[in-house]
Amino acid sequence: MKTVTLTLTNPSELLLEGQNITPDNFAGKKTAEIAALDVWEGKQKSPLGKYFTIAGDGGATAAETKIVLLGDCTRVKRIGQQMTAGEIVIEGNADMYIGGWMKGGKVHVKGNVDSFCGIGMEGGELIVDGKAGCHLGSSPRGEWRGMKGGLIRVAGSVGSDTATFINGGTIIIGGAADIHVSTHGEGGTVVIKGDAKGRVGGQMVKGDIYVYGTIENPLPGFKMVGEVEQEVDGEIALFAHHIGDLGERHPVSKGKTVYANLYTRL
């Protein structure tokens, strides 16, 4: 695997849109070609090399390309957007849409990320060591087919609107979650190891949510049906099992109504 190192040496005045910073776009390119890729600052299109110092060549394919971002990328959006393979390591913070619509490969952010990260995700892995903003693993606006697959792991807390319209895949949150988790969910799994503020599983049709801490304002549409032992993220624990959202439509499979499951740790 070949490594391309980008160091942000000349930060932009406004936010930078770096949708070209993906292994797919770097694959098969020499350092100079990578430096010539477009990035956007508002309506101004510039080469990547204007802002970043670039070292190393891309691998032959995306899968053989690793990108390391150094410097403060707090104001760089869309890194790893739509990537299909390869690896990106962001050594600090990053802005919005990190790993948005990604299909494969791995993004590892060692700091915090802002909102809309991992939205519309279909596959691959997004690992955030710090906190994430709102709309983590959510669906893009107006899209009723949300996250389809892949894994998102955030060590810290997350903002609101996590996993809206989730359809598949797994989101594991180490800290607390703000309101609205898996709203309109139709599948997938969300694990919250801290507390959840409320509206967990609102309008949810199918799918699973695990909450280890407390839910400050549980929804009236969820009903406890029993206690179960489940293995979650490599450990076995006892959970209270709730089904819902009883106010929402639910499909019938083999004569049985399918509900969304909310498990709270006992």
Partner: protein, 458 residues
């Protein structure tokens, strides 16, 4: 002999009353009387000729004062600000006509700007819910003629839409509602006991910020499920009672306001209200409608959706690709995140409505206000361009809160020399084209963005 102009549309709120009678002095220069309008609509007409108006654009001088300049100089200044900015923001349009909005969109596209309207801090979250969940709505005429149950949720029309209740919802006698308010059940749901709540047959004092839970409870009850003893501060028996009224209605309309779309959860509160409306249609006919604020704030949503496919928060910086994602491309977020470097405030008052931090961020860059009147934004601007007042001095199309377009007329001429929003933006557009042509002639084609892969949702 003073002249009476009949069937005049009112340029105040989203109800768009079109039955005003305005009396104009014989020289056609002064508005003498306004009949049928509410106190606020009345004031808008009288304000036009009641005092001194700004007649020329005013440019901020180094000593902080304003100096009058010509429209030509103002157009040149505005065009250059837009041309030189990397990401200008054009925001407002609460109070102008659709013609002005379309012309402004042309300018935004040419300048590679972000184009946003007051919905951004108002009913924008309703749009998001409508994208996600549809909009089972109706016209106000249908509500007037058919509805026997009215719900006002998080809205206070007694103050914000003064004639809404008398024209469309509670009092009017319609085709199938001949008994007027006697045949209607009014339900008001609000954390505050508002003046609208005083009109209600049933008032539910929902715990502030817990509307979503109450909707969820209503939905569960409508589907025949059990709910806890108390939800969002409301007792189960009362929820069940109201749910029965909703199910037994002949025709109902839920009118909702800022209480839903600007309390915690925003679009989700509206989203679940739409879901409840859909559920109720299994039993009877129910509709839902946003209580849009200004008389033509529905307009930019209609005009820009037609032009670009999105109603607000339009990022046109990549020109041939329109990108919209409130939270990123919404005005207040752009300001707070220092994402824009020029600001156009059109027919609204961002100085008064935005959080002070957002105003401070925006004020680091050029700020231009286009408005007939002096307001907080105009007083902190670098350039203030006066225009004619739509509905009083300028005619045009406006969209009522139920998406019905209405042709507004003018009753007097604007002050001499003052132009309309449409003419102003057409002239700025023309100047932008000239600037672009000058630069192309000087140094060949500018590295103009083609929009490749930008904002590229698959």
């Amino acid at each position: 002999m003073p002249k009476k102009v009949e069937n005049v549309g009112c340029p105040y709120c989203g109800v768009c009353c079109d039955d005003l009678v305005v009396t104009v002095s014989d020289d056609g220069k002064k508005i003498l009387e306004v009949e049928n309008a509410c106190a606020i609509g009345n004031q808008i007409f009288h304000h036009a000729t009641g005092g001194e108006r700004i007649r020329l654009p005013r440019l901020r001088q180094p000593d902080g004062t304003y100096k009058d300049i010509s429209y030509e100089e103002a157009v040149d200044y505005a065009a250059k600000v837009l041309y030189n900015a990397k990401k200008p923001l054009i925001y407002g349009f609460g109070s102008t006509n659709c013609e002005g909005m379309a012309a402004a969109a042309k300018v935004a596209e040419k300048a590679g700007a972000v184009l946003d309207n007051c919905a951004s801090i108002c009913h924008g979250s309703s749009f998001l819910a409508i994208f996600d969940n549809g909009y089972p709505s109706c016209t106000l005429g249908e509500t007037k003629n058919r509805a026997d149950v009215i719900v006002y949720w998080g809205a206070n029309p007694a103050h914000a839409h003064p004639r809404h209740m008398s024209r469309y919802s509670i009092f009017p006698r319609g085709f199938f509602t001949g008994k007027g308010h006697k045949s209607r059940k009014i339900i008001v749901i609000d954390p505050r006991h508002t003046d609208t709540a005083q009109m209600a047959d049933i008032y539910l004092q929902v715990k502030q910020g817990h509307d979503y839970e109450l909707f969820d409870a209503f939905r569960a009850v409508v589907r025949g499920h059990e709910i806890p003893d108390q939800v969002a501060g409301i007792k189960r028996e009362q929820i069940v009672e109201v749910a029965e009224i909703l199910k037994k209605a002949r025709f109902g309309t839920i009118f909702y306001g800022m209480g839903l779309c600007h309390s915690d959860g925003r679009n989700h509160n509206v989203d679940i209200a739409i879901s409840l409306t859909r559920d109720l249609n299994d039993f009877t006919k129910w509709t839902i409608m946003a209580m849009r604020g200004h008389y033509n704030i529905t307009g930019p949503g209609a005009v820009w959706s037609w032009q670009y496919g999105y109603p607000y928060c339009l990022d046109l910086t990549k020109r041939d690709i329109a990108h919209m994602n409130p939270g990123e491309t919404s005005s207040v977020d752009l300001a707070m995140r220092d994402e824009v470097d020029a600001f156009f405030n059109v027919g609204t008052d961002a100085g008064a409505h935005f959080p002070i931090d957002a105003v401070k961020h925006l004020r680091k860059h050029p700020w231009i206000t286009v408005d007939p009147n002096i307001n907080m934004a105009s007083e902190i601007s670098d350039l203030h361009i006066p225009v004619g007042i739509v509905g009083v001095e300028v005619p045009g199309i406006v969209y009522r809160m139920d998406n019905v377009p209405i042709q507004y007329r003018k009753v007097i001429d604007p002050p001499e020399g003052v132009i309309s929003d449409e003419e102003l933006f057409e002239r700025i557009h023309q100047r932008l084209c000239e600037l672009e042509a000058e630069e192309t002639a000087k140094e060949g084609a500018k590295a103009a963005p083609e929009g490749v892969r930008a904002g590229s949702e698959p």
